[in-house]
Every structure is written in C-alpha cells, then in structure tokens.
Symmetry: C2
Subunit: 356 residues, 2 copies
C-alpha cells in the first residue's frame, strides 16, 4: 500500500520540551512585574509609551508567544468558535466553513471544526467536546437524524451564543441564518411552469428537515397557484438525494404511464443524476423533460446540458453566522435571543430548463 522511510538524526536532549518564554521571563529580564508586561503586551493605556515599546521589542527578541489557554482560562471566554456540520466535503458546507473561517480569523478568532456525518450521536458528542473546549460561540447545521435539541441547552445556560445555519431546529430560541426555502422552491417550480411544464415531479428530501420540508411546500404551493394538480405519484421521497437515489427515482418516473415533463430536485446531485439517466434513455432535455436543481454545486455547470439551479449564498451565510457570534458579547442580549436572518437566493437558469 505505501512505503515508509524513516530517518532519526538525534536523540535525548531534544525530547524535552524547552521551557517556553512567559511573561515572567520577560519580567525578570526587564525588571518589571508580570502585570506590567501583560498590560504592555496588550497596549493597556496605563502603561507608558516607551515602556510598551521596550517590552514589546524584547518580547519579539525572545520569541515570546502568548499562551491563549492561560488567557482564556483566566478570562473565562475563549476567542474560539466551534462548528458542527454534517459533512465537510460537500461543496455547500465547505463554502460555509470557508466563510466562517475567514470572518473569524479577521477578528482574531480560531475555529474548531467537527462533523456529525449526519449521525445524532456524533452531533451530541461534538457539541459536548466543543463545550469542553470552552468555545465562545457555536455554529451548527443540524444532522439529518436530529429531532431533539437538548444537547444545546448547556450553551444557553452559560449564555454562549449559538447560530443555527441552513438546517435549523423548529423550536429553539437562538440565532438563525437561513434562506427562504419556501420562496426558492416556489420560484424554481414556477420557472418550470413558465417554460411550459404541466406535470412536474419533485425530488424531496427528509421532511422533518426544515429546508426540504419548505422546498417541497414551495413546490406544492406553486403548482396550486398555477392551477396544476399535485400528484403524489410525482413526489419522490429520498433519504439523501444522492446520485444513486436520483437515478432510481428518474427510472421510476420515466416508466410511468404518464411521465413528468419537469423535475424540481431539492439538491443538485440528484438533478444531475436525472439528467444523465434521462439522456441515456433518449429523453430530450429540456424539450421533453426540464430539470432544475438546488445549490449551484460545481457539477451543475459542467453537466450537459448545464443545470438550472438555485444558488445558495454559502460563504455569505458563514460570514453572517460568525458576525452574529462576534457581535453577541457587545450587545446586551442573552443567548436565548431569537434572531432570524433570511438571505435571498437566486435562480440560475441554464440549459436544462430553458425552452424558449
């Protein structure tokens, strides 16, 4: 499987960690008290300008690096934000993290990341581990299995802000950063109708998850408002909206006596899968079957025909979530605040649905 090459040049002495430089060392060196060193390094106003200069210069010479653990312990607040999301290597979530990390770092915060893999137990464990690390705030996108949210209670008790993003709980006072899934689902469906679709199928996700539930509601409402029938036969329930599930669903749909002429998929992956399978079966897209997805994943631009979709401002959501946490300490709110930020989505019309 792989080769290993080991070389070990020198022993013993190096095994001991060298004593690190602390403010006490600097204090001794410069004949100041540790308090003065500490204040000088933090540019405290009660310390003289030249003193600050001198101390900071020496600190640099000595390669002094503050111990954030000690500071956090003393202050009882750490400049760390915890994240719990289902999967890091999904385009939407990776972008979400990117936005969080960038914003946090600018503010001098570190980000600890955990992934639940959509398992409830993992989520609970992660939330505990982040608490143990005494994060200053928590950003969460719920796992598929999560129905109970009591694992977050301890944060509220300690007034540690929680921001739920995208996949959020129904009943939990906290910050929320979401998109208008209902409106997005409505518009995506409406778009297909405008392109002349009369029988539109829907690839639906797990219905206890807010985003999938609302996208479906939007779909249903758009049909009703347009005077089209809602046909349960055309609503394909899926667990993960994966490539495989998308294929199976498309297969089923195409076999119907009265197959659909449009598909709104709650996730791009399944939509792309539908395109590929339908093409394989000789169905013309978009003429015979118009398709629209959700997320604007990279594959949606590459598939042929390119996939129409709903874009989800992932990085922006991460950025706003982080800002909520950074602001929290400034504002006089407790963690049980219920503040919802709803971002706009954008329908991106590409070739998989453009008939005119």
């Amino acid at each position: 499987m792989f080769r290993n090459i080991v070389a070990q040049p020198n022993f013993s002495v190096y095994l001991m960690k060298k004593k690190e430089v602390t403010i006490y060392d600097l204090a001794k060196e410069l004949n100041y008290s540790p308090s003065t060193i500490s204040r000088a390094l933090n540019n405290h106003k009660s310390i003289g300008k030249k003193t600050i200069k001198k101390i900071q210069k020496t600190a640099e010479e000595f390669n002094y690096r503050p111990n954030a653990l000690a500071a956090s312990l003393r202050n009882n607040t750490s400049r760390t934000i915890g994240i719990t999301i289902p999967k890091i290597n999904h385009p939407f979530q990776a972008s979400l993290i990117t936005g969080i990390e960038k914003t946090a770092r600018k503010a001098g915060y570190n980000v600890i990341i955990t992934q639940s893999d959509d398992k409830y137990k993992n989520e609970v464990d992660n939330v505990k581990a982040l608490y143990d690390a005494r994060v200053g705030g928590l950003i969460v996108s719920l796992g598929m299995e999560t129905r109970d949210t009591s694992h977050f209670d301890q944060y509220v008790k300690q007034n540690i802000p929680i921001v739920f993003v995208d996949r959020v709980p129904e009943n939990f006072n906290s910050y929320r950063v979401i998109i208008d899934n209902h409106a997005a689902g409505y518009r995506a469906t409406k778009h297909l109708i405008e392109q002349g679709c009369k029988r539109i199928a829907h690839f639906a996700g797990a219905q206890h998850v807010n985003v999938y539930n609302l996208r479906k509601k939007g779909y249903v409402d758009a049909l009703i408002d347009s005077g089209l029938q809602v046909d349960e036969e055309l609503i394909m329930d899926m667990k993960t909206l994966s490539f495989e599930e998308g294929k199976k669903a498309t297969e089923k749909l195409l076999k119907l006596d009265n197959p659909p002429d449009g598909i709104f998929s709650a996730i791009d992956t399944a939509a792309v899968s539908a395109i590929l399978y339908a093409k394989e079966k000789g169905v013309k897209i978009p003429e015979e079957l118009a398709i629209i997805g959700f997320n604007d994943d990279p594959i949606s631009r590459i598939v042929e025909p390119t996939l129409s979709t709903v874009s989800h401002p992932a990085q922006k959501m991460g950025e706003i979530s982080t800002k909520r946490i950074l602001e929290h300490s400034t504002r006089k709110l407790d963690a049980a605040v219920s503040e919802i930020t709803m971002l706009d989505t954008e329908i991106i019309i590409r070739n998989s649905s453009k008939r005119k």
Copy 2:
C-alpha cells in the same frame, strides 16, 4: 439583501454567566478533595471503585463538564490538532480535512482549521495563531507563495510534531505524507502514449511547488522513455490551473500549426475546461485530442466525455497525517524526525482518453 427579525424575551439575570460546575463544587458536595474528584473522573487506579462510581454519577447529575483549557494549561499539552491549508472549499482539501477530523475525533482530539488562501502572510499568521492556541500537532499543506519555512521553526524547538501533506517543503525535517507525483505524472503520460498520442501537451502548475514540479518531470521522463520529443511549446505554464487558464491554454494549443493530440493536465479543473473548449471548437475527444487530468474531482465524472484522471487518496492522507501526530508522543522521536509516507495513486481511465 436580507430581512432581520429580532425578538428578545427576557433580560438581566440571564446576562450573567452562571457559575460553571467545577471539580471543587463536586468536592464540596461529596466531601472529597478536588484531587480525588479529578482522579475519579479520570478513572485513576488509586481511587476506590465505589468512590469512582459515586463521583461520576454525581458529576453527571450536576452536568459537570471538564474544562479542557485548564487541563491543557496544567499539562502543557492540548488534545488539539491545528491545520493550515490553502483553501477549504476545494474538493481535495475538503476531503483531506474530513479524513483528519474523523481520525482526530476518534482519538478525542479537536481540530482547529485555518486557511491561507495561498498567501504567504496568511500562512505565517495562521501558524503563529495555532502555536498560541498551543496545538499538540500541526498538519500543513503549503501555500503557493511559500518558499521560506522558518515560521515552523518554533514548533520544532518545542518538539511539536508537524506533518506536511501533499504540498511539502524541500528542506525541512518533519513528517511528510505525499503521493508519488513523479510516478503518477509518468503513468498518466504513458497512458496517453499507449492510446496512440504522439504530441502530448502538459498543463503545468507553479514549478517551485513540489507536486507540480514532479508531475511535470514524470511527464517529461515518460516522453523521453518512449522516444517522443519534448516540445516546450506544448508545456503550458499556469499559475492556478483554473478553468479560465485551462481555456486560454487550450485555445493557444489548438491554434498551433501542429496542435497536440493529447493533454495531461496537472489538475482536473483545467482539464475539464479543455474538454469543454475543444468540444466547442469541434475537436473530437478522445479521437483527435485525448485528455487526462489529476485529482478525480467530482466534475471529472460529470463532464462529457467523462475525464480520465489520477486519483489522489485525500481522506486517507488526512487519516495518516493525523496518526503520525497521535503516535508522535508515544514514540521516542523528536519533532525533527524525517519520516516520509508515500501513498499510491490510481489512474482512472474514462472516456476522455480511451481510444481503444
């Protein structure tokens, strides 16, 4: 842009953090000393069985959660791994992180993530910030701009293990987890030759970055070994191997008097871009132009024709990197060890290069 809805139910009392439960509280409650509580919670052998039971039960009842900051401070080692990579939202790197996080969490470690965005300054800042957080180990994939590695010296001095992964420095004693880029480049090129290509172009990345340098060397060596000419005109130097760069390069190549009949791209993105552009220009793939990429990104399976590529065991690399760090404390090595783990790659032959 977005709507905000704020509701604030209750004030004052909740603003103060409630005092957290500590081992001292448990000690008082149970009439034990804090030392006993601490040892009991850690299942120390010198504490009686029933005592441990009783203490752990009470801890649970009181919702006690250990303060990892305090423990780390005292022990001078934190169960935290720091990561510095260029970009989180790139498929390869997202998978790398996934592998790291999973392995670390199984061992009870947290993962702090930072991204350099391929900027040297960011990388330096991040490496410092992670040091300040007193991580127990560091996993790094170097940014494009990095040529000097002195920002890692402090880790070596403190015997904090560093694992470089994928994009690694030339001269720095540490752990390294890499793939055999030379062999991969060689085999990819050889594959095109076997398919009958006589004039093979190469999309090359920045040559001071080990992975791109070696892929190119592999390409050149394969040509030479097969008695083909190395034509500098066919080697396209690119900064980021992006979609746009791929397109421009393909444009240039197709305009040559004697255009290539094969392309080996050091990254999938540029390869996909080449496919799309060449198709648009009426060039038949793979008949007139065979293409192979590198990374096995999701888009490589979706593009038409599907892209042949070299798969990079990203999660596995993350897993192994993490294990190196976890093992480090166990083994009697200092951080200046030089241990290289080289993983195999796999050539995946899809339609963009299969002529026979």
